[in-house]
């Protein structure tokens, strides 16, 4: 990496932070205000009013926990690698790196 590029990168680190800490910061701020705009078409559904809280009828959507499309919740999955031999730059790191395959 050439010096001028390294210098440019160093300059980019200076200045106000562009990325915050996430939704918790936004929701807990003293200036947090409720949204005034109507929901976007892709907004999550609003909670149903109590009159709808009757037992579901035959056509009501089942109130089951998500399963098939839920992300894995097992903490041991975090950082699991691909385990395949060829170099894969973005396989998540394992705590213990896999042994190199005989075939690169």
């Amino acid at each position: 990496m050439r010096n001028h590029r390294l210098g440019r990168l160093a300059l980019l680190t200076q200045g106000a932070a562009l990325v915050g800490l996430g939704m918790t910061q936004l929701a807990c701020g003293k200036d947090a205000t409720p949204p005034t705009e109507p929901s976007h078409v892709n907004s999550p559904p609003m909670p149903r009013p109590e009159v709808d809280a009757a037992p579901p009828g035959p056509s009501a959507p089942p109130d089951l926990p998500p399963t098939t499309n839920a992300p894995p919740m097992n903490a041991s999955d975090a950082g699991a690698g691909s385990g395949i031999g060829r170099p894969t730059m973005n396989a998540p790191p394992k705590k213990l790196p896999p042994a190199p395959s005989a075939k690169p």
Partner: protein, 285 residues
């Protein structure tokens, strides 16, 4: 586990989604001369080995696709400027293209691929704050991973003797060049401090660099130090479908680390990268 299929239907279905995918999957520059390739000109064993490599690469590219997609959704929770979303939209399209090219390469070799994907390995769970997680992922996957990957693909392109492999690798290298540039810009922008929490996050990542370096070294077939890697032949004998020898992959790792990764990490605020790399080399030598 599931088997990754390339398309949802047959060509006669004329699905709009397939047409859009094909448009995204076309190379940004140049063209790939699929129909010029004559598989009968090569030994079956060479075609088998090449198809295995490209099938594995399809899985790797799918990992990148899932990772960058997840990362994009995190950015939307953190208030990143909109141009980050645009840049990531291209990144995602690039990884779709790469996965598609790898699968098509297997088809061209006469050995259609059915790569198996384990969904449990496609997702990284947040280990620290969302912002810390995004920074950690960008430093690992872009500043280290994509930088090494760029070196590796450029060497594979130089080594490839089969014209079709050169076309496909050329399309991937165009994208990888952008990925490397984007990764370092993002890494630098994410190193802007806003107080004590940032300092704690930075220190946590700095302390993890040695582990990350070892991880990527193992992925690049590194079994000894840079002197060994640079003394090995870079490619195996025979027709080359875009592969390197084990020593060639290891050499790409060491060269990328010394030319780009370590100096880049120091420049964006990780002076710990130098002793971490020195420690790795010392262990290996």
């Amino acid at each position: 586990m599931y088997v990754l299929k390339r398309l949802s239907g047959s060509p006669r279905d004329a699905l709009a989604l397939t047409a859009e995918h094909e448009a995204i999957a076309r190379p940004r520059k140049g063209e790939i001369r699929w129909t010029d390739f004559d598989a009968s000109a090569y030994d079956a064993s060479e075609l088998d080995a090449a198809a295995e490599l490209w099938s594995q690469r399809a899985v790797q590219e799918m990992h990148s696709l899932a990772l960058f997609t997840e990362l994009t959704s995190q950015l939307h929770l953190l208030g990143a400027p909109l141009d980050w979303s645009g840049a990531f939209a291209r990144m995602i399209a690039d990884e779709v293209r790469h996965t598609d090219l790898c699968i098509r390469m297997c088809e061209a070799l006469g050995r259609p691929a059915a790569p198996e994907i384990d969904p449990a390995r496609l997702r990284l769970l947040a280990q620290v704050s969302p912002r810390g997680h995004v920074r950690h992922t960008i430093v690992a996957a872009f500043c280290i991973g994509e930088t090494i990957s760029g070196h590796m693909f450029r060497r594979a392109l130089r080594a490839a003797t089969v014209p079709l492999a050169r076309d496909v690798l050329g399309a991937i290298v165009v994208d990888e060049t952008f990925h490397g540039e984007l990764g370092w810009e993002l890494g630098a922008l994410l190193m802007r401090s806003d107080g004590e929490v940032f300092d704690a996050e930075r220190t946590m990542l700095a302390n993890d660099l040695a582990h990350l370096f070892r991880h990527y070294a193992s992925l690049c077939c590194v079994s000894a130090g840079p002197t060994w890697a640079r003394g090995e032949p870079e490619v195996d004998e025979g027709s080359n479908f875009g592969t390197l020898s084990a020593g060639g992959y290891a050499r790409a790792f060491f060269d990328a680390m010394e030319a780009d990764v370590v100096p880049g990490l120091v420049a964006i605020g990780f002076p710990e990268a130098e002793p971490a790399y020195a420690s790795l080399v010392s262990e290996l030598s």
